[in-house]
C-alpha cells in the first residue's frame, strides 16, 4: 500500500554554455554576434543525481510545492523560518545552508536578485564548498544575478554543512536552493 512518501528521489540536471563574440560593424553602433571561433557552437552536458528519499529536513529546499501547506511540514515550523517566501536573503556575512553533516549529493543555488540592485550594482552570490566551524574562506564559485550553479557532490568529501554562501556586495541579494543528501 503506497504511503505517499517517496521511495526514491533523483535530480535530473543539465548545463548549457554559449560562448559568443561580438564584432563591431562598419557603423560602430552596429555589432554582429556569433559563436566564438572555438568551440564554434554550444557546449553542455546532463546527468542524473540519485539523492536520499529521506532528506535531512524540510529545509533541503528553500521553497515549497505550490500546493503544499505549512501545517504539513515535518519540521517544527517556526524553526526554519528564514525562507518564508522561498528565498534566503544574503548579506556579506557567510551563511551555512545547513548544519546537517551528511554527504551532499546534489547542490543547486540560484541568485534570484536582479540587476541593478538598490545602488545600481550587479550583486553576485559567492559559494564556498569547504567551510567549517561557522565560517568559510574559499568562496570560489560566483553566481551572477539570475544565474545558477548546480553540481553533484562526490558522495564522500563534500558535506552538506560545508556549503556556505554570501553576497559579494553590501546591497545583498537573495537565493533559492536545493541542498540534498
Amino acid at each position: 500500500m503506497p504511503t505517499g512518501n517517496p521511495v526514491t528521489r533523483r535530480v535530473i540536471f543539465g548545463t548549457y554554455v554559449v560562448p559568443s563574440q561580438s564584432i563591431e560593424g562598419e557603423e560602430t553602433s552596429v555589432r554582429h554576434t556569433e559563436f566564438q571561433t572555438s568551440p564554434a557552437g554550444t557546449l553542455g552536458g546532463k546527468g542524473i543525481a540519485t539523492i536520499s528519499e529521506d532528506q535531512w529536513g524540510d529545509g533541503w529546499v528553500s521553497f515549497s510545492h505550490h500546493k503544499g501547506y505549512w501545517e504539513a511540514q515535518g519540521d517544527v515550523w517556526e524553526l526554519p523560518g528564514e525562507c518564508w517566501d522561498g528565498t534566503l536573503a544574503l548579506t556579506t556575512g557567510g551563511v551555512q545552508l545547513t548544519t546537517n553533516g551528511d554527504e551532499c549529493l546534489f547542490l543547486y543555488i540560484k541568485n534570484t536578485g536582479t540587476t541593478p540592485s538598490a545602488s545600481g550594482a550587479s550583486v553576485n552570490v559567492l559559494v564556498a564548498l569547504d567551510g567549517s566551524g561557522g565560517s568559510a574562506t574559499n568562496y570560489y564559485i560566483t553566481v551572477p544575478p539570475q544565474g545558477s550553479v548546480c553540481l553533484r557532490g562526490d558522495g564522500v568529501q563534500l558535506l552538506c554543512n560545508e556549503v556556505y554562501v554570501k553576497s559579494h556586495h553590501s546591497d545583498g541579494t537573495t537565493i533559492e536552493y536545493i541542498i540534498a543528501k
Binding site: P2, P6, V7, R9, R10, I12, F13, G14, T15, Y16, V17, V18, P19, S20, Q21, S22, I23, E24, Q36, T37, S38, L43, G44, G45, G47, E53, V61, S64, H65, H66, K67, G68, F106, Y108, K110, T114, T115, S122, D130, N138, Y139, Y140, I141, T142, V143, P144, Q146, G147, S148, V149, C150, L151, R152, G153, D154, Q157, L158, E162, I178, A180
Partner: protein, 130 residues
C-alpha cells in the same frame, strides 16, 4: 574593429520522486517545479576563451584552470572524474562528474580547478574564459 567576448550559460535541474518502486517519476513533492538560472548579463571579456578536448584524466590530478573567470568541464569518458577548486594542502575533490555530465560556473581567479579520477582513466573537455 573591436571584438568582445561573452559567455552565456544556464544550469537547470528537475527534482523527481517515485512513490512506488519501479513506478512513475513525478515532480518532487517538496519542490513542485523545474529550476533554472541563466546569467542576466555576461561579463565582457577582451580575449576569446580556450576550448580543450580529449584531455586524458587519471588518478594524478591535473590543473585545467587557474586565474580564470569562467570554467566549463565535461566528462567525455566513461569513468567518473572528481574536481577540486582549491590547491590547499587539504584540498578536497568535492564535485563529481559521471559520463556526459558537465559543470559550468563563473569562478574566482583564486580558484585552481584540478581534475582526477579515483580509479581508472577518463577523458574530459574543458573551456575557460579570462
Amino acid at each position: 574593429m573591436a571584438t568582445t567576448y561573452k559567455v552565456r550559460y544556464k544550469n537547470h535541474c528537475t527534482p523527481q520522486e517515485q512513490i512506488l518502486d519501479g513506478g512513475r517519476w513525478y515532480l518532487d513533492s517538496d519542490c513542485g517545479r523545474k529550476l533554472t538560472g541563466v546569467n542576466d548579463e555576461s561579463p565582457t571579456y577582451a580575449a576569446p576563451g580556450t576550448l580543450t578536448t580529449g584531455v586524458s584524466i587519471s588518478g594524478s590530478a591535473i590543473s585545467i584552470a587557474s586565474s580564470k573567470d569562467f570554467v566549463y568541464v565535461k566528462n567525455t569518458g566513461s569513468t567518473q572524474v572528481v574536481i577540486s577548486l582549491t590547491s590547499d594542502a587539504t584540498a578536497k575533490y568535492v564535485i563529481a562528474l559521471a559520463e556526459g555530465e558537465a559543470f559550468a560556473s563563473e569562478i574566482s581567479t583564486l580558484a585552481n580547478v584540478r581534475v582526477k579520477t579515483l580509479s581508472g582513466t577518463s577523458t574530459i573537455e574543458h573551456f575557460s574564459q579570462t
